[in-house]
Symmetry: C2
Subunit: 495 residues, 2 copies
Amino acid sequence: MFEKIELDKHMPKAEYKKAKKTFESQIGKLQRKLKEENIPIIIVFEGWDAAGKGSLINQLILPMDPRGFKVHTIDEPRGDELRRPHLWRFWTSIPKRGRLAVFDRSWYHRTFEGIANGKMNRAKSGEACEEICDFERQLTDDGYVIIKLFIHISRKEQKKRFEKLESKESTSWRVTEKDWLQNEKYDQYLKAVEETIRETDNQYAPWTVIEGTNRRFAAAKMYWAVLKALEERLLKAEKEKCEKDSHEEADVYTMWDMNASILKSVDLSVSLEKNEYKKRLEKNQKRIGELGFEIYRRKIPVVIAYEGWDAAGKGGNIKRLTEKLDPRGYEVIPVSAPNEYEMGHHYLWRFWKEMPKTGHIAIFDRSWYGRVLVERVEGLCSNEEWKRAFKEINEMEKHLANFGTVIRKFWLEIDKDEQLRRFEKRQNDPLKAWKITEDDWRNRDKWEAYSEAVDEMLFRTSTTYAPWTIIESVDKYYARIKVLDEVIKSIESRL
Amino acid sequence: MFEKIELDKHMPKAEYKKAKKTFESQIGKLQRKLKEENIPIIIVFEGWDAAGKGSLINQLILPMDPRGFKVHTIDEPRGDELRRPHLWRFWTSIPKRGRLAVFDRSWYHRTFEGIANGKMNRAKSGEACEEICDFERQLTDDGYVIIKLFIHISRKEQKKRFEKLESKESTSWRVTEKDWLQNEKYDQYLKAVEETIRETDNQYAPWTVIEGTNRRFAAAKMYWAVLKALEERLLKAEKEKCEKDSHEEADVYTMWDMNASILKSVDLSVSLEKNEYKKRLEKNQKRIGELGFEIYRRKIPVVIAYEGWDAAGKGGNIKRLTEKLDPRGYEVIPVSAPNEYEMGHHYLWRFWKEMPKTGHIAIFDRSWYGRVLVERVEGLCSNEEWKRAFKEINEMEKHLANFGTVIRKFWLEIDKDEQLRRFEKRQNDPLKAWKITEDDWRNRDKWEAYSEAVDEMLFRTSTTYAPWTIIESVDKYYARIKVLDEVIKSIESRL
């Protein structure tokens, strides 16, 4: 999902000034409170060379009480460090309760590098990630806060920055051969980062990716991420002491709109000509029909999940997917709000029940992702619950994949204007007016909150075994063919 | 550690009657309260064929409200179950909130069998255990209680029971060829059970092994395990609603002494003759000296942890271990109560700091196990904290082992009478009187509580990568030679 992140986000000066002011007025207060509560804090900065980690760290600590923190700069391990388990140097530098430690690079550095340059094979990197997860869970269980930031820039931007540094005598020494090597092997490095982040993105210590092109935006997002985590930790302490109600939530959550990024970079202008559409539809449907028999014969189960905006065209899309499939081999499962009996069980229970048997295709029209979309945005579950759900969902999909299930997930994307056009068109059509309800108009009002939720969902639950694909759906022809293409591709590559 | 469990524990009729009465009066009340709180309960019965699962289940449910529970008997998967992921049939049978499900065999059955008969290789069984852990964590995070009981009998006892069943016409059909196969391959099966239990023994769903030889004892221990888990869950619910103080603990904890089992089976009468001791000491010390140089050359780090009763002879034992080692290659780390600065960190921090570098030996005189011994018994940490510690400690030792560290842990065992003799002897010896403090006498009063803690520690933290060895220490000669033997064996097998 990293490739989908919109890196060129900017922040106007005035807005940034406001963000900075909020941060500065909050951070001192929070630092004091956390000290009173004896809560230790760890902030990890990882990211590309020349992404701006150093200056972000400066901006972070400037308004803080200098007696309360320590900055650790992590280079290659040296001397005794090499003669002890990798985590030893980090264990020995964790902060005392009530203090804050900032890590400029951290325990992740070795894994990023190791995977990127091939020194770590799958088993070794898996072991390293597991150790990191244990380490972070042990600390957070003990009351520590761990904030993990990855500062992200593009290959082009990195190159530009290196060249700029090299062009001045005073800064040219800062660019080393190793830096250029990273730029050369950018794609490999990115893959290593994605893999590591996916394996270590846990509720107790989640990652935040900071779009680093614009320095103001990057600083503001860092402020946001740090305040959010600290406020939440304080709230938890207050709840534990029964000083706060268990349903109260941290303020920062609704204060800034910082997350949405992936959806903004989607190019919705793509389209298909009608003739071309018809031709490809026929060809694809024929192929999917054949593949339906093939997976039946080979006993492969397939799960396809559709999510998307209201009126994005899920129904029509599903229709084109199934039209030429043998009806004995697939099932479409429409998902709406759970009934009382379903609510009496774990939220995944009703989806587990519907999972296809071998050789069958289950198509979910909306899915278990409701937990991190509508239930999150409408407050139908607690903060705690939807945050936990990312991992739970990844696990469920992993269990299905372990069994041999092919899993694909499609997000049908349209913009707000297009949705309005469709709503109005439906309302004016007596045959389709029933499709538009009060709920639809209400959800529309929360477009921004939903965007943020979708963004986080795409980022945290796109995995190699169950990837998300964003389907540009303003042009329905294009959308339908793209889904068919993707499904065909997945099944073929399994066969 | 299974081989160390004392299986022949009996319970006199009168005592059993009392336990049964307590259980019956408690369980109905608890069941009602749990229903009110909408808490779902899952109780898993696993164990040897003919271990008595069926009759235990009967005794469990008899005093319960029959409208509140359902018993699931798990046979080999059939039909559609075979065509879906293994956990599917269990997901679809989890109870609704406020209800109770009893599983006669469960999701563990496949793994026990699979490992025992070689159908599951290491990767497959690891994956299966991981899925089970995910499953159980997802449920308990959602408020479910999962109680897992393994009913344990010896091979001999199983054979006796089979023969008895076969001897009567009315019951002979109950013994199948498959049952006899299990008896034949008892050791293989036991290894599979041990491995699976070790991988799935988590704080959120811990295992209880029930010594099944004596049916009264088995029933009483089942009552104890069930009441304990349910009471703790209710207490948690009350704490969450801020109705109870966060330090209160469930009553059952101190009500019955059920756990202690492993220590009781240790034969303390073993001894060594003085001449034999001298001969073997010289030989062993020479060898350990050589091995010290060898691990230095091969850059292998070694961790040895000593725990044991006061006056069990740790000091003298360590002395014999180190006497002929090059002092530049080892360090003895005496561990006492943490100071204020150490208390300001995660409890493992001070031990991580002392972990040896490659080629060196660290000998801990008492260790991180204080968390689950003195801190548990004396209430120096919360219930929550010491329960969490089993997993944390296993993880730390795993991380060390991943790095290549050889880890051995010794429990120096003496009985209460022997301790008294030694205390008195020390007190009468002006040179040694300082060794005996008020604390020692106080700890002695809590012998039973400590036994229980030691027992659980040995059971939950004896792993392949960091095994515990019980050192029979009434005869000091024997104890010293046994430690030396064990250390030599471990290092040699690593080289």
